[in-house]
């Protein structure tokens, strides 16, 4: 294993452990942890068996395999960002709705 592989494997294992600890402490729901675990497993496989990266790059016609690694990371981060964006939007709508309801209800209560 190259020093780079060791570094990436360590990072992946640490992130997996951190995600699992967060789930145990109820800081992260299992549903939200899924994409992080998948991301770390892909990182783990690619760093333990660098040949798999070469094989996949060859399959996709990419001449410089590390580029594929960056491309995979980018796509995963893009998807995660999009999911988060949708969630933030959903939460924003709920907060505004709650705020409006509360402002009106508070006024009704003051009247009583």
């Amino acid at each position: 294993m190259t020093p780079m592989s060791i570094f990436l494997t360590t990072i992946a294992i640490l992130v997996i452990l951190y995600v699992l600890i967060s789930i145990r402490r109820n800081k992260l729901s299992p549903a939200n942890s899924f994409i992080w675990i998948v991301f770390c497993i892909i990182l783990l496989v690619l760093s333990i068996w660098p040949a798999s990266l070469d094989w996949l790059a060859n399959l996709l016609g990419i001449s410089y395999p590390p580029t594929l690694f960056l491309a995979i990371a980018l796509v995963i981060l893009f998807i995660m960002n999009f999911i988060q964006s949708k969630k933030i939007e959903d939460l924003q709508k709920k907060i505004i709705d709650l705020g409006q309801e509360l402002s009106i209800k508070k006024d009704d209560n003051n009247k009583k």
Binding site: K93, G99, Q100, S103, I104, K106, D107
Partner: protein, 248 residues
């Protein structure tokens, strides 16, 4: 044309005034409204102002709801729409607190919605010369979005950026439940309502320039953000309704 300005009770009308730090302007607006539009209830939605807007409104004996946090213009308006829905109002009129909208012109909007049976009446500065001095960039923006509304809906709306509007119960009902009420409820919302089959009519009204303080579109960054967001939202709204037009 029947004039409904002096009408008492029957249809319940609510004037919704969103206000953020309008202590300097709101007093005369309310005094004038109480005198000229006596048939309507007035509701000021204080968007968590840091000045004494709330105290001035209450001193004038006008109902004031304070948002529990600053929600900005559109969602403050929507708080008022929800209030109108909960209290079963038949019509709602939106007015600015900065003195730009002349209170007795609200009567024109109300008369028009009764006489034309429209769903939305827009108080327009541009269908008749009214002496309103429009800032240059605002004029360009208005013309641009008027063109966009015409392109996407085929309907001519001269002042799609006017916030001086009157809506009926159907629209109150729809907007109070609207989870996607836009951040800038102007041209894109007009496009959406036309594509949904609602009837929109424009009525010429006089307007003044802001009495004091800064507009929510002042500065450099805010107008740029407004133009790009509004332009993008107009396009997305049009795309959203391709193939499902006039769904009302």
């Amino acid at each position: 044309m029947k004039n409904c300005g002096d009408k008492m009770a029957s249809p319940k009308v609510l004037i919704i005034i969103p206000a953020y730090n309008e202590a300097k302007n709101i007093g005369p607006v309310l005094e004038s409204l109480k005198k000229d539009v006596s048939f309507a209830d007035i509701l000021v939605i204080n968007d968590h102002s840091t000045d004494n807007t709330k105290e001035i409104v209450e001193k004038n004996g006008v109902k004031c709801i304070t948002n529990i946090f600053n929600m900005r213009y559109a969602w403050t308006i929507q708080t008022g729409i929800k209030y109108a829905k909960y209290h079963n109002y038949d019509y709602a009129i939106f007015m600015d607190a900065d003195g730009q909208h002349i209170p007795n012109e609200a009567v024109k909007l109300y008369d028009a919605i009764i006489n034309t049976h429209s769903d939305i009446i827009i108080g327009s500065r541009y269908i008749k010369k009214t002496g309103y001095k429009c800032p240059f960039f605002r004029k360009i923006g208005t013309k641009f979005f008027a063109g966009l509304v015409r392109l996407f809906t085929g309907k001519k709306i001269a002042d799609p950026l006017s916030g001086f509007q009157c809506i009926n119960k159907k629209v109150i009902d729809f907007w109070s439940k609207c989870g996607n009420y836009p951040e800038y409820p102007d041209a894109s919302l007009i496009i959406e309502m036309i594509l949904r089959g609602y009837k929109i009519t424009e009525v010429p009204v006089k307007m003044k320039n802001r009495e004091s303080g800064a507009s929510m579109h002042s500065g450099i960054w805010k107008p740029i953000k407004y133009m790009t967001t509004q332009f993008y939202t107009c396009i997305v709204t049009f795309v959203k309704y391709i193939g499902k037009r006039r769904i009302k």
